[in-house]
């Protein structure tokens, strides 16, 4: 069988499984296993199926996923977030759009303390979706916005993606971090813009909104000034503790998940919310989301092994070889290849798999590795929002129960606008990336 036909067949099978409603983890796992067996024979899956699940999960860096989710659980259960959104809603005289803006900005700040996109999206999803919904947002628009805001953790430093790129290409990680700041802000602004557009265009009379309005009226009256000050100061303490701790070197961004959860727990304890139910509910939610994200990462890795064994990335690159005299064309094609890979495969795996292969081409065209790394990381962040494998969207869907296809419909809009505007700007104005590092 010609290899092209084989790829098409596997893609077809992937789509069939996905649209028949097979769980995403099983789609990845079955295509991975079938693909490897067809290419190399049944004995070849042994190594991968034996060691990969344990090896993938046994990672200190991934502790951010359960711990940020746990933090969100504790904070939500202590009622602070509900009050905080209520206060801002009151202050903005009922402008719900402003709450959306607030949410995206919180996502950007979360990105500055967290390197893990799934952890951020899940945490923010638990905290903010119910609040946005209550104040007049359509749930899918709120969910997609939050998936995007959570994804900002992938580009706003510290970021696991940037670190992996730095390690694979030996680009200084600190410089990458600094270079990512302006693109990170750009992405934040674009997400805010698209959110406002979707929100104002969105159907305000969506089911369920009318009755919930009443609760909100009731709640508005409960929010006294002293309660407002109390809530604001607790929020401020949490933010300051996490930021101060990271930036003064008391703990690392990875450890911030644990510290944040601990502060959340203490807060709930002080507010007298801790009881048996508190633990049962927090544990159940945290285990559900953590397990979902990690199971997809485990199966995505086995799917990734299939892609590796198939040598598809290497062949795509070889096909690009003759075009090397047209750097712009090659860059656009490279971006498309990355975009495609990030659609199907988890971000870190793509960086590790594809970047070493693409690196020689990039170097041959004299493209700045720093600039290229930022471009790739931006595309990676966008890939978290696109079907069929969009971890940020899965995380939000997991915590809110909104079906993934409804979320994807909105998140795709954000992804496309981000791709065109941010990638376009970075290609036209490379100094958006290189200017800040050049000041150092």
């Amino acid at each position: 069988m010609p290899i092209e036909v084989f790829y098409l067949l596997m893609l077809f099978l992937f789509a069939i499984f996905l649209f028949l409603g097979l769980h995403v983890h099983s789609v990845l796992l079955s295509i991975g296993i079938i693909g490897i067996i067809l290419l190399e024979g049944p004995a070849y899956i042994t190594s991968f199926l034996q060691s990969n699940p344990y090896k993938q999960v046994a990672s200190y860096t991934l502790t951010t996923i359960p711990l940020f989710v746990l933090m969100a659980q504790f904070i939500v259960k202590s009622g602070i977030v509900r009050d905080m959104y209520g206060i801002v809603f009151n202050l903005s005289k009922g402008q719900s759009g402003l709450l959306g803006v607030l949410t995206v900005i919180i996502g950007a700040f979360l990105g500055a303390v967290s390197g893990s996109t799934s952890g951020s999206s899940a945490a923010l999803g638990q905290v903010a979706v119910p609040e946005l919904k209550k104040h007049g947002f359509r749930d899918d628009i709120a969910g997609a916005t939050i998936a995007a805001a959570g994804s900002l953790s992938g580009i706003i430093p510290p970021s696991i993606i940037l670190i992996l790129y730095g390690v694979v290409t030996e680009t200084p990680i600190g410089t990458l971090f600094i270079a990512a700041i302006i693109p990170g802000i750009l992405m934040t602004l674009v997400i805010i813009g698209v959110m406002l557009f979707l929100h104002t265009r969105g159907d305000q009379t969506a089911a369920g909104l009318v009755e919930e309005k009443e609760d909100e009226e009731e709640e508005r009256q409960q929010l006294t000034i002293s309660r407002g000050i109390f809530v604001a100061s607790i929020g401020l303490i949490i933010v300051l503790a996490i930021f101060g701790g990271i930036y003064s070197g008391v703990f690392t961004p990875t450890e911030a998940g644990a510290v944040g959860a601990f502060i959340g727990f203490i807060t709930a304890l002080l507010l007298g919310k801790v009881n048996k139910q508190f633990f049962v509910e927090s544990f159940a939610e945290t285990v559900k989301i953590t397990t979902m994200v990690l199971l997809i990462m485990v199966t995505a890795q086995i799917f990734g092994r299939f892609i590796t064994v198939s040598q598809l990335p290497k062949e795509l690159i070889n096909a690009l070889g003759p075009l090397i005299e047209y750097p712009v064309v090659v860059l656009i094609l490279l971006s498309l290849i990355y975009f495609l890979l990030f659609m199907f495969i988890e971000g870190g795996a793509v960086i590790i798999m594809a970047t070493p292969v693409l690196l020689p081409i990039v170097q041959e065209m004299n493209v700045d590795l720093l600039w290229f790394g930022i471009l790739v990381s931006v595309i990676c962040t966008i890939g978290l929002l696109t079907p069929p494998v969009g971890l940020s969207v899965f995380a939000v869907s997991g915590v809110t129960g909104i079906p993934i296809e409804r979320l994807f419909r909105q998140s795709m809009v954000i992804a496309v606008v981000l791709a065109i505007v941010v990638c376009g700007l970075l290609i036209i104005f490379p100094s958006l990336v290189t200017w800040l590092p050049s000041l150092m």
Binding site: L62, L70, K288, L295
Partner: protein
């Protein structure tokens, strides 16, 4: 069948409690390590290695079956729901059998890995000494086995009803 599933639900709940408390302990452990490092200038507890080799796997594998049965695992259902119930039912059975095979495979290979690890007494080095971690490897096949059993219950349930369902007992919510 109902009775058997009740027993199994208790086992799943045990898995949830194990995974959930592991995550809570992980939080306390890392925080303690951060405090000690800043007070005494040393990480005495070895939280990095313990978390990596023991706690993260314990946070994941035991809770797998519980998480799956809660319906959180993402899937695209928009196309299937438009089909006739009978077709939906058949498709569901097919997918469930496929998933059962997949997770039995992971159970089988996970057990192999644990046995190899036991034979080699796999260990990591912490503070100059070697600590064995192979016992934890048995949680991999255990987690996948529980998940396979959950899927098996779903298959039996679907075989007995005309309505396609991904939940054995609709009322069980935690």
């Amino acid at each position: 069948m109902n009775k058997a599933y009740k027993v199994f639900e208790h086992i799943k709940l045990g898995g949830l409690i194990l995974s959930g408390s592991t995550i809570f302990i992980m939080m306390l452990f890392i925080v303690a390590d951060v405090i000690l490092r800043n007070l005494l200038n040393a990480s005495l507890l070895g939280s990095y290695e313990i978390t990596q080799y023991f706690l993260m796997p314990l946070a994941f594998f035991p809770g797998l079956a519980f998480a799956y049965s809660s319906g959180i695992m993402p899937r695209i259902e928009m196309f299937v729901v438009k089909l006739k119930t009978r077709h939906q039912h058949n498709i569901f059975m097919m997918l469930l059998v496929l998933e059962l095979i997949l997770f039995l495979l992971l159970t089988f290979y996970g057990l192999q890995y644990a046995l190899i690890g036991t034979q080699e007494t796999l260990g990591f080095s912490m503070k100059g000494t070697i600590i064995s971690y192979y016992p934890i490897l048995y949680f991999v096949p255990l987690g996948f086995l529980l998940l396979s059993i959950e899927i098996l219950f779903l298959i039996i349930k679907n075989a007995h009803t005309k309505e396609p369902t991904l939940s054995v007992n609709k009322n069980s919510q935690y």
